[in-house]
Amino acid sequence: MVRTLLVRGMLCGILAAVVAFAVAWLIGEPPLERAIGFEAHAEHGAAAAAAAGAPGAAAEPAEVFSRTVQSTVGLMTGLVVLGAAVGGLFGLAFALAQGRLGAAGPRAAAAWLAVAGFVVLVLVPQLKYPAAPPAVGSAETIGPRTALYFILLGMSVLVAVAALGLGRRLVARIGAWNAALAGLGAYMAAMALVMHALPSLGEVPEAFPAAVLWDFRVASLATQAALWAALGLAFGALTERSAARRPIER
């Protein structure tokens, strides 16, 4: 049964990556392309200034993959690998949740799990450290930026697990509705404190177009939302179908 859920999750994750690719390609690539244009322009200016001071000092970095490859095969590969991984973890989380968290049917349970995954792993971390297009964030700070992002991601997961435990413990005393609200409130309050304690980044270059930054961040959230929505809905539909066929399958 665990094996079935794991494989189903990975397959649904790959399917979801294809949906996410359509979103990323349609609305994510245009602002990303404009950000690269800004980056090249800024670098060109800097290189020209450096070359004027010391001739031959600045050299163009060699291109490993063309923009066409990066925006098609590369984008798809990245999304599929992440989709399969997230889908597998989703299947395992579903295996853990089924029969333990309320009496929702497979479709509703998978949909709620996808909503929770999106909020805990994407939305909350991105409220503090939103997606950065090329040219936003300097190369020198990639270390601390990566560390802070993964610290916030890890804290979000830990706090969510703790809040879930709190909610489950309260069900018998105050009822399912109030316990769910208490768990949700505890998660929000704790994450507000964590986000307040972590430093802000704000490394957007002064001349970077605000509209491009907004479009890029909306597209980033839309890509993730498409991934999680497709994953949860496909997983729920397949699990419902197999449960209807074999109600006592283990």
């Binding site: 990066q70 853990l96 029969g99 497979p106 349970a109 950065a132 109600p247």
Partner: protein, 74 residues
């Protein structure tokens, strides 16, 4: 494993699924969980702040996905 049958309340109703014992989940969770985290690492972080392999081939190939998924890229 279990022979508990949950009676269906109607033709279309799907019964709530039974809980799976933790000892059945843990081995899968440990193995698949570690592999999944490794995959996320390669898409989200390899050759960014830290690198398992020299060069920037992985970084450049998944460049657009890394940016659009919200991972710090460069």
């Amino acid at each position: 494993m279990s022979d508990v049958v949950i009676p269906s309340t109607g033709a279309a109703a799907v019964p709530a699924l039974p809980a799976i014992p933790l000892r059945e989940i843990v081995p899968w969770a440990v193995l698949a969980g570690l592999l999944a985290l490794l995959a996320v690492w390669f898409v989200g972080a390899e050759q960014g702040a830290l690198a398992l392999f020299d060069g920037n081939v992985v970084h450049e190939f998944v460049h657009d996905a890394r940016h659009l998924l919200g991972f710090p890229c460069h």
